[in-house]
């Protein structure tokens, strides 16, 4: 008697679980390369009011510190290594970032716009 109910509950739970998992995993990733003390791309466009994940690859032989006053972020990226930083949700606007060890060359901007979320890859 309870079998159909159990099935419905089971399917609903499975669907809900998958849906929730996809919601949790729906943090867009943006990839940046650091090469010759330059961020590539130096401009990243991300959607407004959403949390996103920045993955920064340091291809140089020296460490660098990703730093941004407006984003309030500060992370060391070791030589030939990668680092992950979460930013947002942010209001539309421009948010500068720089490499603390090479601030004259390693500079970039996160541009926050109203748009549909779309992950980009510098590769």
């Amino acid at each position: 008697m309870n079998k159909p109910v159990n099935k419905i509950v089971g399917i609903t739970a499975l669907f809900f679980g998958l849906f929730c998992q996809s919601l949790l995993a729906a943090v867009a990733e943006y990839h940046i390369q650091l090469k010759d003390h330059l961020f590539l791309p130096s401009q990243i466009i991300i959607p407004a009011n959403q949390k996103v994940k920045l993955v920064i690859y340091n291809q140089d032989d020296t460490p660098e510190e990703f730093d941004s006053f407006s984003l309030n972020r500060d992370k060391v990226i070791f030589a030939k290594n990668k680092a992950t930083i979460f930013i947002g949700p942010l209001q539309p606007g421009k948010y500068d970032f720089f490499g603390e060890y090479n601030p004259n060359t390693a500079r970039g901007t996160v541009i926050v716009e109203h748009q549909k979320p779309k992950a980009t890859d510098a590769n």
């Binding site: 949390k51 020296t62 460490p63 510190e65 006053f69 407006s70 309030n72 972020r73 500060d74 992370k75 060391v76 070791f78 030589a79 680092a83 992950t84 930083i85 979460f86 930013i87 947002g88 949700p89 603390e100 060890y101 090479n102 601030p103």
Partner: protein
């Protein structure tokens, strides 16, 4: 490279200088205490840096942020212990309070000093960078020392006028600021979600400017703090003050009854 080195000193060395000066005045510490703290802190920094790649892999790449946050929690708790020691007001406590203060300096040296080791380790082998790095080091040290002397005189003056609670309050304000400064570390690795901004005073004093740097070190000034930062700041600052004030009133009423 010169300017980078100077800025690095302002950001990472100045907090160490400020804490050392405050504690030196607060405890009327000896020069031996100072030397021991710096040596112990430098030694711990080297151990930390030696293991930083391993620590960085912990907790799915969140190890460095979590360890730095834990250091700040410890430094804050040790400052509260200093306040408790002051409340007890026993001369036998002085020795143990010196140890507490020494541990505070050592932990701060680990969290802030590790940045220096990384920087110098990465760039010292570049022959064209050595001269400007050395010059930047002298300039940065000069600025930090000048500010430290000014703060030393101010703290001495406050202690003479208002007593040891005033210098402890300086320490508490400083460690609360550092605790709040460390909160974005947890946000950036997605451990907590505290992104809602309380206000923005970016147009008055930006964190990018010299005064922004200085205020950030002295009392944790943030041009655009999150609501979580404001709540933690208020709680971390006022709870010990209220508790110690009540304890003082309580002990005063007890001694009055006797």
């Amino acid at each position: 490279m010169l300017i980078n080195t100077v800025i690095l000193f302002l950001r990472d060395a100045l907090p160490i200088f400020v804490l050392v000066v405050y504690l030196y005045v607060h405890l009327s510490a000896t020069k031996l205490w100072l030397v021991l703290c710096v040596v112990a802190g430098a030694f711990l920094s080297l151990i930390y840096i030696n293991q930083i790649h391993v620590i960085g892999q912990w907790f799915d790449g969140k190890g460095i942020e979590l360890s730095l946050w834990i250091y700040q929690i410890f430094v804050y708790l040790l400052a509260v212990v200093l306040g408790y020691g002051l409340n007890q007001n026993q001369s036998s406590n002085k020795h143990s309070l010196n140890w507490v203060a020494g541990l505070m300096v050592s932990l701060t040296l680990v969290s802030k000093g590790s940045n220096f080791v990384l920087y110098f380790d990465g760039y010292l082998n570049q022959s064209n960078a050595i001269q400007s790095m050395l010059l930047g080091t002298f300039l940065g040290l000069g600025i930090c020392l000048s500010l430290a002397i000014l703060l030393y005189l101010t703290a001495q003056w406050l202690k003479q006028r208002l007593g040891p609670w005033s210098t402890w309050l300086l320490v508490l304000i400083y460690v609360t600021g550092q605790l709040v400064n460390a909160l974005p570390l947890l946000v950036q690795v997605d451990v907590i979600d505290a992104t809602a901004t309380a206000w923005s005073s970016q147009h008055f004093v930006s964190n990018e400017f010299e005064f922004g740097h200085l205020f950030n070190v002295l009392f944790g000034y943030q041009a655009a703090p999150s609501i979580a930062q404001v709540i933690i700041y208020v709680l971390a600052l006022f709870i010990p003050l209220v508790v110690f004030y009540s304890l003082k009133l309580h002990s005063a009423s007890h001694s009055g009854n006797k």
